[in-house]
């Protein structure tokens, strides 16, 4: 990169302001004792608990546990899902054999897999990896498949006129051509992954940010519930940022703003 990006642009300042406004509004709601929201803690209480949490080892252990679960399940979904989607897009025979079954399983919400996952996998961790995997897998596959079918036929024809063999068309046209859809699939899949992970941790997990939040509830520690929620938000945001960064590295031809 030749030039550093400016950090304090008007746009980032507005972004900061939006967070400050949100906190102010929150303060007002609690202060005014809006009905049904009386139990909401003040931002200050949450901040105090937050600062406490950040200094404890268990808090960071929970981060680590959740991130490892996301990482394992998500990577597995990519490693299996991307080739699966490409194969479905490239081969009509393979698509005919797999698509109907795939489309029947796809609408099943990942959370509905929880009972089976707990019953079938020997350890709790494996069940959670599997659930995270399910959350991302279907989204990845459907995006790759769509990406492959959106590649214009003239690109394939142009390549074969230029002397590309079928394997070149696959590796040099289909794969890079579906890359934007793969990245989209990853971005959406990452969001779903966190959804599923938190639900799975609350029900079946040991440790992790979801479990931490749930335990705060059972201990009736409302500020810590909010700390847990904010932590999950930040973790999800960081993961999305990582995917966006990955996308920019993988697709230098896409103009970014």
């Amino acid at each position: 990169m030749k030039k550093m990006k400016k950090i304090f642009t008007v746009s980032t300042l507005r972004g900061l302001l939006s967070i400050i406004l949100f906190v102010v509004l929150w303060q007002l709601v609690v202060f005014a004792k809006v009905p049904y929201l009386e139990n909401l803690p003040y931002p200050k209480d949450v901040a105090v608990h937050g600062v406490e949490a950040v200094q404890s080892k268990t808090y960071w252990l929970n981060w680590e546990i959740s991130l490892i679960r996301v990482f394992v399940g998500f990577i597995a979904a990519q490693v299996i899902g991307i080739p699966f989607g490409l194969a479905m897009g490239a081969s009509k025979v393979f698509r005919d054999f797999t698509f109907s079954a795939f489309e029947m399983l796809r609408p099943v919400p990942p959370i509905a897999w929880i009972p089976l996952a707990i019953l079938f996998w020997p350890t709790r961790e494996l069940s959670i990896y599997f659930l995270v995997f399910v959350g991302a897998f279907f989204i990845v596959v459907i995006n790759v498949l769509q990406g492959v079918s959106n590649i214009s036929v003239s690109l394939k024809w142009a390549a074969s006129s230029l002397g590309a063999r079928p394997k070149d068309v696959f590796w040099k046209i289909m794969v890079p051509g579906s890359l934007p859809s793969i990245i989209t699939g990853m971005t959406v899949g990452m969001g779903v992954t966190w959804n599923v992970l938190i639900a799975a941790e609350m029900i079946a997990g040991q440790g992790g940010l979801g479990r931490m939040t749930w335990e705060a509830y059972t201990n009736h520690n409302i500020p810590l519930i909010v700390v847990g929620m904010v932590s999950i938000g930040v973790a999800g945001y960081l993961c999305s940022m990582a995917i966006r960064w990955l996308g920019e590295q993988a697709m230098p031809w896409k103009k970014r703003f």
């Binding site: 214009s152 003239s154 690109l155 024809w157 142009a158 390549a159 074969s160 006129s161 230029l162 002397g163 590309a164 070149d168 040099k172 046209i173 890079p176 051509g177 890359l179 697709m251 230098p252 031809w253 103009k255």
Partner: protein, 278 residues
């Protein structure tokens, strides 16, 4: 690189018929279409929209089959109902909507052919491509991606990507559609320049009659679907041509002749319920 002792690339289209979906809807795109394109001849194809011009191009390029008839390249059958020679570097296509690879830079696009065929090393091909770009005044754009370029420049790059392979035949499907009149004149001069530098058989589909007469050795006017040859108008204007010839009497008379033939077919097509005019 070899010098052209003899220009190759004569194409002969003999009684070519193409029926899409023969089991079902039976859409006849071409019926007994026959004409010749000499080696090194710049042939222009005009005709009503949807008449089957692109069908013919796809058949010559090897993208699609024909139902009956025969297409020959330098005397060898490249397409018939029995056989279909695959797309090959001897017949290059420049597509209607552009088909540069968005994920490759200009240099990577141009060198794709020689590199994928293992004909040249990447670095040698890149040098050659740089030279070609420089020669046509596009020396600065080698490392840019297609999306960063105007459509006129994209088209020129795509034509260079075809030419680096030294094809016998270059087929262009309305390559300058959507460009404004000024950009078009630049494209015409560019095409004229590269054609004169090394003449080869050109198959050029267009709706722009000025373009047709300005660039062509002959203009083949197709009928409305199913496509047949309605009329062939030879253009005997001297080469290389410059834009002021568009005011000459000879030019205007030719244009009138082509226009009348095209108009007749366009009217038929319109009456047959076709939406777009030529």
């Amino acid at each position: 690189m070899t010098t052209h002792d003899k220009i190759e690339g004569a194409i002969s289209i003999r009684k070519v018929t193409k029926i899409y979906d023969p089991e079902g809807a039976r859409v006849m795109a071409m019926k007994d279409c026959s004409f010749e394109m000499g080696a090194g001849e710049f042939t222009i194809i005009v005709g009503p929209s949807g008449c089957g011009k692109t069908t013919l191009l796809n058949a010559i390029a090897g993208f699609d089959t024909i139902t009956s008839g025969e297409i020959l390249l330098d005397g060898d059958t490249i397409s018939s109902s029995l056989k279909q020679i695959k797309p090959n570097v001897d017949r290059m296509v420049v597509f209607q909507n552009g088909a540069l690879f968005p994920w490759k830079t200009v240099i990577e696009n141009i060198t794709y052919g020689p590199v994928v065929q293992d004909r040249m090393k990447k670095s040698a091909a890149a040098e050659l491509a740089k030279g070609m770009l420089h020669q046509v005044g596009l020396g600065e754009i080698g490392d840019k991606y297609p999306e960063e370029l105007s459509s006129g420049v994209q088209r020129r790059v795509e034509i260079l990507r075809a030419l680096i392979n030294q094809p016998k035949v270059v087929m262009l499907d309305e390559p300058f559609r959507g460009l404004d009149a000024v950009a078009k004149t630049v494209m015409h001069e560019f095409l004229m320049e590269v054609f004169c530098a090394s003449p080869r058989t050109m198959f050029f589909i267009t709706h722009d009659l000025d373009e047709a007469i300005f660039l062509g050795h002959k203009v083949v006017i197709m009928t409305t679907r199913p496509a047949q040859v309605k009329k062939i108008v030879p253009v005997a204007l001297p080469w290389p041509r410059e834009h002021h010839i568009m005011n000459s009497r000879e030019y205007l008379e030719l244009k009138q002749e082509v226009l009348e033939a095209v108009h007749e077919e366009a009217k038929k097509a319109f009456e047959a319920g076709e939406r777009e005019l030529a």
